[in-house]
Amino acid sequence: MNPLRRIGAGLLDFCQQIGAIATFALVSIGRGLAGPWYPAQILRQMIDIGYYSLPVVGLTAIFTGMVLALQSYTGFARFEAESAVATIVVVSLTRELGPVLAGLMVAGRVGAAMAAELGTMRVTEQIDALTTLSTDPHRYLIFPRLLGGTLMLPLLVLVADIIGVFGGFVVGTTKLGFSPYTYIDQTLQYLETQDVVVGLVKAAVFGFIVTLMGCWNGYQSRGGAQGVGAATTRAVVTASIMILVFDYILTEIFFSR
């Protein structure tokens, strides 16, 4: 095949996929908002995504905060700016690392599980069974997951920010010679509401992306166990890449603020 034609075909396929995913998301949101609502399903997803992701996100946050304190101290000591460590830790965590790392962790834990669960439901005809039992899969399966991800990731990131800052505080006060009062004072002095808000907006977008990729890939999976496995891998990989792409786009949007 002509190389140009191949590139064109690939591009068309990519655009078609984007359109199909966008339609899938809009249909799910539209039907989900129109009701009937399934509060038990929504609550289950919120617990699954929020509560059960806390340990992995918390661990990631505390070690990230600790490493950040050590590394920024090493760097800033070269031009005698060690006092900026607390500020660097809190701003990096709230604006950037908190949402991105939590998003990636949740993509690995929740996105994969969603794709596997929905994929299994698809290949064992459970999704078709739902349809025959007067239950719209978009309302019953997809919307609660999208809502759960979009609402819970900001909360997870808020907790991760606090745990991460605590990690930096522990290293700062036990290894780097900061007094607890100075560290906390410098953390709060330069932290702006905007930093936290930007991080939480990012988290909501990442939560939506992770659950959308998990749902889309699971819902579309075909061909038995192998198909479900491939869908799970695709869900994690596409969500991770999209988190990084959207992180840049959102950072660009909020850059001047």
Binding site: T124, Q126, D128, A129, T132, T135
Partner: protein
């Protein structure tokens, strides 16, 4: 084709997946109150036919009328009305593995009318008894059931809605001959007791002889023979003869790759 009015009337139904033409002009009448079994080899489009009637798959052309209502091209509300008349037993049972048996059985009833958990459980137990399962099965999870029990629970879920039409997708696949006969007897007795119209697909000839009033043979995307089950052995159709006797030699050729 028969004297009784058709509950389901299919004319010139086409369905393709990409370049693969699965249904190439299916004509079939399912007389009201009778049991029609569609036979045919694997991959001849039997399951696709059922899913087209339910509107889970959209036919590419032709017409499917259920009680006079057109399915092909119908939108959400109209399709929902048609699905309200249908209960379906899926090939693998398609039980929701996150819900206990009683919630599976009463799922459709709860989706269609507001009832409390106690009432839903009572309905589930009542329907489980109809398929020969004791009340203590109600609290088990689907994973704890044998294949035969899963089929019976699936059957209880299909009949719980008191549908006018019942679909059975390979109801005896994967069961031992005795359990298969139990399921066949249940299908026969329940459909007769409910006065329902039944459409089944299978390649199990023992099942065909037990549950069918009429038999249709699907081959290369078309119904090539239709008649009362009593005439199956003297159909005068070489394709039917080869299929019902399970002979490798004959007009039906099976690819090895």
């Amino acid at each position: 084709m028969t004297e009784a009015p058709a509950k389901i009337a299919i004319r010139g139904l086409h369905k393709s997946f990409g370049r693969k033409h699965v249904l190439r002009g299916v004509d079939l009448d399912v007389p009201a109150g009778s049991s029609v079994v569609v036979i045919g080899g694997s991959g001849t489009g039997k399951s696709v036919l059922l899913k087209c009637i339910l509107g889970i798959l959209q036919g590419d052309g032709g017409s499917i009328r259920v009680d006079g209502s057109e399915v092909v091209g119908a939108s959400g509300g109209d399709l929902e009305g048609i699905r309200h008349k249908v209960g379906m037993l899926f090939q693998g049972g398609a039980l929701f593995d996150s819900l206990p048996v009683w919630e599976n059985v009463s799922f459709g009833v709860r989706a269609r009318r507001k009832i409390g958990r106690d009432e839903a459980r009572r309905i589930a137990v009542e329907n489980l008894e109809k398929v020969g399962l004791a009340a203590d099965v109600a609290d088990l999870m689907p994973a704890e059931l044998s294949g035969g029990m899963q089929k019976r629970v699936g059957l209880a879920r299909a009949v719980a809605l008191q549908p006018e039409i019942l679909f059975f997708d390979e109801p005896t696949t994967g069961l031992d001959p005795i359990m298969a006969d139990v399921i066949n007897n249940l299908i026969r007795s329940l459909t007769r007791a409910m006065g329902a119209t039944a459409l089944s697909i299978t390649h199990d000839m023992a099942s065909v002889r037990k549950i069918a009033d009429y038999v249709a043979m699907l081959y290369e995307g078309r119904v090539i023979w239709f008649g009362p089950v009593e005439e199956l052995d003297r159909s005068g159709n070489d394709f039917v003869d080869q299929f019902i006797h399970g002979r490798a030699e004959g007009p039906i050729t099976v690819g090895t790759r």
